[in-house]
Structures are given as structure tokens and as C-alpha cells.
């Protein structure tokens, strides 16, 4: 095992129990997870396996009952504001234009409006939003909203990106388009990414390693390395090794029920 400092995120023995109407409900039961710098990893699991709780803990919204969570070898200080967290819903504010939505994080940090606009301006093209900067969210397509939400998350340049099923609200065609777009984008920005999904294809396509979780209480059931070098293209889905890996992961998931 590598030294802790080489890892970007190091999670060991994470446990979390919540109380529903006074009854304890064990959500996470000893989750171990290691992510290197600039690595993209996926967490796959049945619904209710505690994926969201895990993300909330990494983002700093919640604290574990037991276990360690180290980021950059440090286990102290608030993670809030330093980890980019993109939730399932686009959460664009309806009263703000696309441009003003995207600068929200910069605004919170006290960056001036003019400077914020200058910072986001060059990205509208690659995020497929140019020409729509002054539009209100309700006039955008689902894919555009998700990309705007993504730009809002990355513009503050967090070291770590947490993506919680970012494409689940989209139809199949838009989803695969956005997956390819994200694949290209991630190769350009070199960020440590933790992607939560229940789409096995998406996990294999985008990540370097896949953690499969058990159903509640959540534990890591298996860890699968994804063998494809980057840059990747869509064609890998036709590869026999892709199909093998997919069926292996699916069998882990199906064994849960």
C-alpha cells in the first residue's frame, strides 16, 4: 500500500449510522477508498447503499461516526468550500441568467463581478453554452443545464470533484453525448474525480477504477481496475473486455438482491 501522502483522498473504515424516528439505521459500515491525484473513480451500488451519504461526508456536509478521511494527507479543517460537489439536480437558480449562475461560487468567495465574468467567458464555448450566457435556466435544454451546473462547479477550481449521478435526469441519447463530452473535458482539466452512478457503462467509460458497494449497510464489495488507456473513445464499448468487465460488475450488483 502506498503512503498516505501520495494519495489525494484516503478513506478508511468509514462508518455512519443515522436515526429515523429514533431507530438506528446503519448506512455505511466500514468503507475504505483511495484515490490518487487526477484519478477518476466511480462508485457503483444499488440505490440506498449510502452513496449519497458517502459524498456528503467527503464534501464536508456531514461527519462520519467512525473512520478517517484524509485529503492531501490532512485530516483536519473544513472540507466545505474546497471540494466541488455537483448534485443530481442542476440546481440552477431560476432568477439568475446562465452567466450569473455560473459565477455563484466565485461571487461567494468575494471575486468581483467583472473579474468573475472574465474568468468564465473563455469556458462557454467548450461547455456548449455560448450564445446562451444571458438566458434564464428555464429556456435551456436538460443537457445545457447540466453543463452550466458543471461549469459552476469547476470554475472555482476545486482539487476534487464529486459528481452525484450527474446524467441521471437526461434521456439516453443526451446522456451518452454528455458522457463523451465529460470524458474529453476531464482529460483536459486533470482533476481528481469521484463519480457516483448506477450506470455500469458510464462507470467503465469514464473512470480508472470502480468501487462496487453492497446494499445497506454500505461496504465496498469489490474494486475493479479499468484497463483502457486515455484518451478513450466510444468504441471501447464494443471491446470484448468491456463486456466482460460489465458482466462481472453486474453480477456483483445482482448478487445484492
Amino acid at each position: 500500500m502506498e503512503k498516505i501522502v501520495d494519495n489525494h483522498i484516503n478513506i478508511a473504515g468509514l462508518k455512519k449510522t443515522i436515526y429515523q424516528d429514533g431507530n438506528p439505521l446503519k448506512i455505511l459500515d466500514g468503507v475504505d477508498l483511495t484515490i490518487q491525484k487526477s484519478e477518476v473513480i466511480s462508485v457503483l451500488g444499488p440505490s440506498g447503499c449510502g452513496k449519497s451519504t458517502l459524498l456528503n461526508i467527503i464534501a464536508g456536509l456531514d461527519e462520519p461516526d467512525e473512520g478517517d478521511i484524509n485529503i492531501n494527507g490532512l485530516d483536519f479543517g473544513s472540507r466545505l468550500g474546497s471540494v466541488g460537489y455537483m448534485q443530481q439536480k442542476d440546481l440552477l437558480l431560476p432568477w439568475r441568467s446562465v452567466k450569473d449562475n455560473v459565477i455563484l461560487g466565485l461571487e461567494i468567495r468575494g471575486v468581483s463581478k467583472r473579474q468573475s465574468y472574465e474568468m468564465v467567458e473563455p469556458h462557454f464555448q467548450s461547455f456548449g453554452l455560448s450564445g446562451f450566457e444571458s438566458n434564464y435556466p428555464h429556456t435551456l435544454s436538460g443537457g445545457m443545464k447540466q453543463r452550466a451546473s458543471f461549469l459552476r462547479t469547476v470554475i472555482t477550481e476545486p482539487d476534487i470533484l464529486l459528481l452525484d449521478e450527474p446524467f441521471s435526469a437526461l434521456d439516453a441519447l443526451n446522456r451518452s453525448r454528455l458522457q463523451m463530452w465529460l470524458l474529453d473535458l476531464l482529460e483536459g482539466i486533470h482533476r481528481t474525480v469521484l463519480l457516483v452512478t448506477h450506470d455500469v457503462d458510464e462507470a467503465i467509460m469514464l473512470s480508472d477504477r470502480i468501487y462496487v458497494m453492497t446494499s445497506r449497510p454500505g461496504r465496498i464489495n469489490s474494486v475493479e481496475e479499468v484497463p483502457y488507456p486515455r484518451p478513450r473513445n466510444r468504441e471501447i464499448v464494443n471491446d470484448s473486455s468491456f463486456v466482460e468487465l460489465k458482466s462481472k460488475i453486474l453480477s456483483f450488483l445482482w448478487d445484492q438482491d
Binding site: 456536509l61 466545505l80 448534485q87 437558480l93 431560476p94 428555464h138
Partner: protein
Amino acid sequence: MINWLVKWSPAFGIVCLIVGAWQLLVKIQEIPSWLLPSPSSVATTIYSDHSMLMRHTLVTLEEIILGFFLALVMGVILASAICLSQTIEKALYPFIIASQTVPIIVIAPMLLVWIGYGLAPKIIVVALISFFPIVVNTVDGMKSIDPDIQKLMRTLGGKKAQVFSKIMIPSSLPYLFSGLRVAIAISVIGAVIGEWVGSSEGLGYLMIRSKPQFQTERVFAAIIILSFIGIGLFALITYLEKVFVPWSNEQRN
């Protein structure tokens, strides 16, 4: 203009129907005008007494608008305090609700005793009656924010004050405007009650002065003007909502 007429044609139809039936009833039954004046005699009164009616209308309008603004300011401040502090919420909300259970008709004469005649007690009556829907709606609006947006703000490093100014205030605006529409309608009632209790001018004053003099046409003229004030101010607020909260309708659709 044509579109507007078509849109409101059902309302015009009802008005025409009621006015027509009323006119016919008064004519056929030969009802004396002190008991029930015909629409035509009310219209004649509005025309012939228009400068006197205008003077009283302006007084009442001033009371309504000032009282309404006081209610708006008070309402938004109270709602903000309630949403920012649970202690304040627990301390104040019961009294805000209690203030509405005491009939305004009981409070109004006391205000007269305490503050005297003049504009001030009327403004207070208007404000007291109309701040309630503003507070309740604004609190609901501020509390209706999506918990996921709260999470988003926290992960972006947002402080409580930033959540309040950047999220809670804008998301409460559609609710605030719903409250304002209710408030403006009842603030007309507030002004009239304030005048009934003690005043020397205004449409409410005109009504109680004209009634014992059997000038029932004037009572009706005042009622009609008050309805138009209510409808006009309501429409104005709806228009302002479209200007200031353009996203509100899109969101609801």
C-alpha cells in the same frame, strides 16, 4: 386593447348583467332612491359630485398606500427575523397570529384614543390588517428553499448571510407578491374602517356621513370608487411582479 377586452369580457358581462337587473328592479318596483338608488342615479352622482368625491378618494388612497408600505416594510423585516432566528420565530410568531384574532374594529377606536384623529391612526389600521399575509407568505417563501440548494451553497463555502441574500430573498419574492396581492385588497377595508371610527375626510367618512342624510347614491358612489381602487392596485401589483419577478411565471408553468 382588443385582446384585453376579450380577456376580461366575462367580467364585463357579469357587471352588465348585474347593473341591468339592478336598474330594472329599481324601475319596476319603484324603489325609493334612499333605499336603493338605481345605477343610473349613482352614475349621475359620481359625475355631478366628482370634485368632492375626488378629494375624499385622494385622502383614502393616501391612507391605503402609506399603510400598505408600512405593512410591506414591517412584514419583510419580521419575516426575515423569523427566518434567520428560531428564537425570534418562537418569540414573535404567536403574537403575530394573535394580532389577527383581535378584531381590527376593536383596535381602531383605541388608536383614536391613543394617537388622535388625523392620518396616523388610519395608516396604522391599514398596516395592522395587511401586514399579516405579507409576513406569512414571505416566511413560507424563505423557508421553501430546496435543501439541495442549501447543500450547494455550503459546498461552495457560502455563509449564512450569503444564503440569506443570494437564495432566501430572491426565492421568497414570488411568495411575497402573493402576499402583497391579498394585502392590497384588505388594506382598502382597513382604510375604510379607520375612517369610520373617527375622521373628517375620506371615502369611508363620506359613507357614514351620507347614510343618515339618506344620500344613498353617495354611499354607492364611494363603494364603486373603492372597488376600482382595489382592482387598480391589485393590477398594479400584478404588473410589478411581472417586472421584478419575471421568472415566477415560468417556474409555475
